[in-house]
């Protein structure tokens, strides 16, 4: 500078020379958290990630992200009991995001568009899978994508397991099963139908496989003795539901009693209703203790299914059932009261649960069958017999299509590691994105989009699919109801609310960074982050 004005001794300067970052005692850091939906998903889907794609209308990308974890979205979009939606933070604001409806939309669109998945080059390793239900098919899909050669043995004449032979068609139309399973079949998986494995050791030798995954499901009905009952009138749920999938469904009488309080009991009763019968569900405990999903209970009641809660069947005499009134003790266990009543029933269907038929495993060493008939597996889904893995309904845990599909994925990872002589270690999960970390003020009020449902009169008399799908516009709006709990969705709030311009916007898809030279640590960015993706942490000395 040349001559300065009077009393001016310093050159003009920008305040950028003043690094206000040294005022800070706390500093903001960007974090990623585990969204509650992902956390709750039995199939291990990264729901928030595929919703993120779906929010932009990028349906194919969303579907591709989705099938990285779950090969059957059209099926799950119909039959999954959506624990994700029960966990969804939006449920505490207005209504949960209808994740299942969006999943179904993507699944159906993939079927319509004929989207296919790509596989890795062959590893030369062979895997045997016993059972082509959700678990076996899921494992086959993931193993094939990893480049392994898979052979499936299936006792039935078609693949699908419970998805074909258990779930009623008003919930899951068979053409959907055919379409999604067909996509798996097209992946060069060898499937031997009508082939029951009698001697596993011999089959393993014959096929020359390096690992085996057992997923035979649970098909043996649990029975109880009912004194005086005519065996001709007695049925079990699995047999009945399975007959519905074939050419000659079992004929029921007019008055149908269903014994049990689980989802299978509901399926039987609602199927009976559609066949023109008058079903009544008998259960030893009350409605709140019934294991069936509440949504299913409500739908069954709407359709005219009646319930006899707190009743056990004591004896039967021709078409009369004697029920004993029960009461619940402190622990919620049913206790007999000694009071009896009778009802008329032409048919009694037992829906008391199913066990796996594990007789074919008898000769193998190391297999441990638990009291309830399930097979014990370790944290890697391997049985006590090296190289022999198991999953789905035949291992302990919740019995559902989604759980079985999740088992298939997990088993595939462990089998893949086993084949490569390593161990699969699950990467550590982020801590949970809890509701209290959100700043819900920023989210627009928007009610859940409801898919169309069949009118009640039609539901009661046909096996037409009960719930319809969302159209593309509605699916887009529904996806956009996602709060993106715990993970930045680039709303620009942190960038805007910093009084010190200390948040740097890195551009679309690249999120943000903090300029710690100027960040004073006020915490406004963390406070005003809608989704809780910023933590304030103590500054180190």
């Amino acid at each position: 500078m040349g001559r300065k004005p009077f009393a001016i001794t310093l050159d003009p300067n920008s305040s950028l020379a003043n690094h206000t970052g040294n005022w800070r005692t706390m500093k903001p850091i960007y974090v990623d958290r585990l969204p509650p939906c992902n956390h709750a998903c039995p199939a291990g889907e990264n729901i928030q990630a595929w919703l993120y794609q779906a929010e932009e209308g990028a349906s194919e990308e969303a579907w591709r992200r989705l099938v990285e974890d779950n090969p059957m979205p059209a099926i799950h979009g119909r039959v999954c009991y959506h624990p994700c939606e029960s966990a969804c933070s939006r449920g505490q604001l207005d209504e949960a995001v209808s994740i299942r409806a969006v999943e179904r939309f993507l699944g159906d669109l993939a079927i319509k568009e004929g989207w296919r998945v790509l596989c890795a080059p062959s590893t030369g390793k062979k895997v045997l899978i016993v059972g082509a239900g959700p678990s076996g098919l899921s494992a086959a899909y993931h193993l094939t994508r990893m480049g392994h050669t898979v052979t499936i043995y299936e006792a039935a004449d078609k693949v699908g397991g419970m998805m074909r032979y258990g779930i009623p068609s008003y919930r899951l139309p068979r053409e959907i099963v055919d379409a999604e399973v067909g996509r798996l079949e097209a992946m060069d998986v060898m499937i031997r139908l009508n082939t029951r494995v009698e001697d596993l050791e011999a089959t393993i030798k014959e096929e020359g496989v390096h690992a085996t995954f057992l997923a035979v499901g649970a098909h043996l009905a649990r029975r109880i003795e009912i004194p005086g009952y005519d065996a001709k009138r007695l049925l079990d749920a699995a047999t009945f539901l399975q007959s519905m999938a074939g050419a000659s469904p079992i004929k029921l009488g007019r008055r149908v009693a269903v014994y049990g309080g689980g989802n299978t009991a509901i399926d039987v009763a609602r199927t009976a209703e559609r066949l023109g019968a008058e079903p009544v569900i008998i259960y030893r405990r009350d409605e709140t203790h019934a294991p069936a999903f509440k949504e299913e209970l409500a739908e069954a009641r709407d359709e005219g299914v009646r319930f006899q809660w707190l009743r056990s069947i004591a004896k039967a005499d021709d078409a009369k059932l004697t029920l004993e009134v029960m009461e619940l003790d402190q622990q919620g266990r049913p206790k007999p009261t000694g009071r009896f009543e009778t009802i008329e029933a032409d048919t009694l269907v037992l829906a008391l649960g199913q066990k796996a038929d594990t007789a074919f495993l008898r000769n193998l060493s190391g297999i441990r069958v638990l009291d309830d008939g399930t097979i014990e597996v370790d944290g890697h889904m391997m049985t006590g017999h090296p190289g022999l893995f198991a999953g789905g309904d035949m291992v302990p845990g919740e019995q559902s299509v989604s759980m079985a599909t999740g088992h298939g994925k997990q088993a595939a990872r462990h089998i893949d590691a086993y084949l490569r002589g390593t161990e699969y270690v699950k990467p550590p999960s982020h801590p949970l994105a809890t509701f209290d970390r959100l700043n819900p003020w920023y989210y627009t009020d928007a009610e859940q989009s409801k898919p169309p449902t069949l009118v009640l009169a039609r539901r009661r008399e046909s096996f037409e699919e009960m719930v319809g799908g969302l159209d593309a516009d509605t699916a887009l709006l529904e996806a956009r109801r996602c709060l993106s709990c715990g993970n930045c969705f680039e709303c620009d709030n942190c960038y805007a609310v910093c009084p010190d311009n200390a948040v740097i916007k890195l551009g679309p898809g690249s999120r943000f960074a903090i300029n710690y030279d100027y960040c004073k640590g006020c915490g406004l960015c963390a406070e005003e982050c809608p989704c809780g993706a910023i933590d304030m942490v103590r500054e180190m000395k």
């Binding site: 305040s15 929010e55 805007a496 009084p499 006020c522």
Partner: protein
């Protein structure tokens, strides 16, 4: 209203940006090319509402004026923390003169531009509530009365914060300041005093008057853009919480401002030629306690015992605003 709410886009227009929102519906503050008129390195306290409000407003005015803007600054926190000798945080033509004469200096700049036939350049004057409602009030009223071509922005933090939290004509009833201590029979600022400058500005019949808050960025930017595009005297009164003077958590600056809006204590409206032409509806109405409890300047209303009369009096101010401006639709 200048702002149109967009629904069903996850966060709609409540957050600054959002990739799902059309570019034109995002705020200036969400843009990578925003001017950052008030740059980093300024010496405002942590979580300063005034620093935030000033950047929001001036960046919006810069964009609306195609970066042809001259800012006149009254004395006050904003001037002091942004321009300690020899540094400046301002990335725009910026001038400071005295505490009380910013409107007059701005009138002069506008007159000079007119003389030079520079109708492409816009003039803003800005000051805190002390400079605006008290010390510079005469100059401001004159600027309004002559309808000089100036947009005046008042950042209202409801007391003289720079000099040590003394009461101003904008300090709300019952608030503790260092000149209205929370002692005696009527602790805090006496009620029934002070000035409502937006109403006074409206009484001048000037082309445009609006209130805005750092809690509603879309609304604030829309009002500044509207005002910048207009001719004549325009006035925007912006509510800017002061963590130091209000005794609020620096992280709560936007939250405090939001509670003021949602309770009805700070109504958001705009007026043209003395008539109210729009108001921003309250989204989720809250009782005034939600606002008061975030600030230690109102702690004496709750501790050691609740002062029901005072809280009821403040609630009745909010209720009256809700009725007067139709804030619940």
């Amino acid at each position: 209203m200048s702002t149109q709410r967009v629904k069903f886009y996850q966060t709609g227009t409540y957050t600054a940006g959002n990739r799902l929102l059309d570019e034109t519906a995002r705020t200036v503050q969400s843009r990578m090319d925003r001017t950052n008129s008030l740059n980093s390195g300024h010496r405002a306290c942590q979580g300063c509402g005034e620093a935030l409000g000033a950047r929001y407003a001036i960046d919006a005015a810069m964009r609306a004026s195609h970066n042809r803007l001259i800012a006149i600054n009254a004395t006050g926190c904003l001037e002091v923390f942004s321009s300690p000798y020899p540094e400046s945080s301002w990335q725009i033509p910026w001038m400071h003169s005295l505490f009380g004469n910013a409107p007059a200096v701005a009138s002069g700049v506008a007159a000079a531009l007119r003389a030079k036939r520079r109708d492409d350049v816009k003039v803003v004057a800005q000051g805190g509530d002390g400079a605006t409602v008290d010390i510079g009030f005469g100059c401001l009223s004159g600027m309004f009365e002559r309808n000089d071509n100036v947009l005046y922005l008042c950042y209202d933090n409801e007391a003289y914060m720079n000099t040590g939290i003394q009461r101003s004509g904008s300090t709300p009833p019952f608030a503790r300041t260092n000149t209205t201590q929370a002692v005696g029979d009527t602790p805090g600022n006496p009620s029934g005093t002070g000035k409502n400058l937006p109403r006074i500005a409206m009484a001048h019949g000037i082309p445009y008057v609006a209130t805005a808050s750092v809690a509603d960025l879309h609304d604030l930017e829309a009002k500044v853009a509207t005002a910048t595009a207009m001719q004549g005297a325009r006035y925007i009164h912006i509510h800017v919480p002061c963590p130091l003077g209000w005794g609020s958590d620096p992280a709560h600056t936007v939250k405090v401002a939001r509670m003021a809006v949602e309770s009805g204590l700070f109504p958001l409206f705009e007026a043209q030629s003395g008539n109210i032409v729009g108001r921003m509806l309250i989204r989720h109405k809250v009782p005034v306690e939600r606002y008061l409890e975030l600030q230690t300047r109102f702690r004496h209303l709750f501790d050691p015992r609740r002062n029901e009369d005072a809280i009821a009096a403040i609630q009745s101010i909010a209720d009256e605003n809700i009725t007067t401006y139709g804030l619940l639709g």
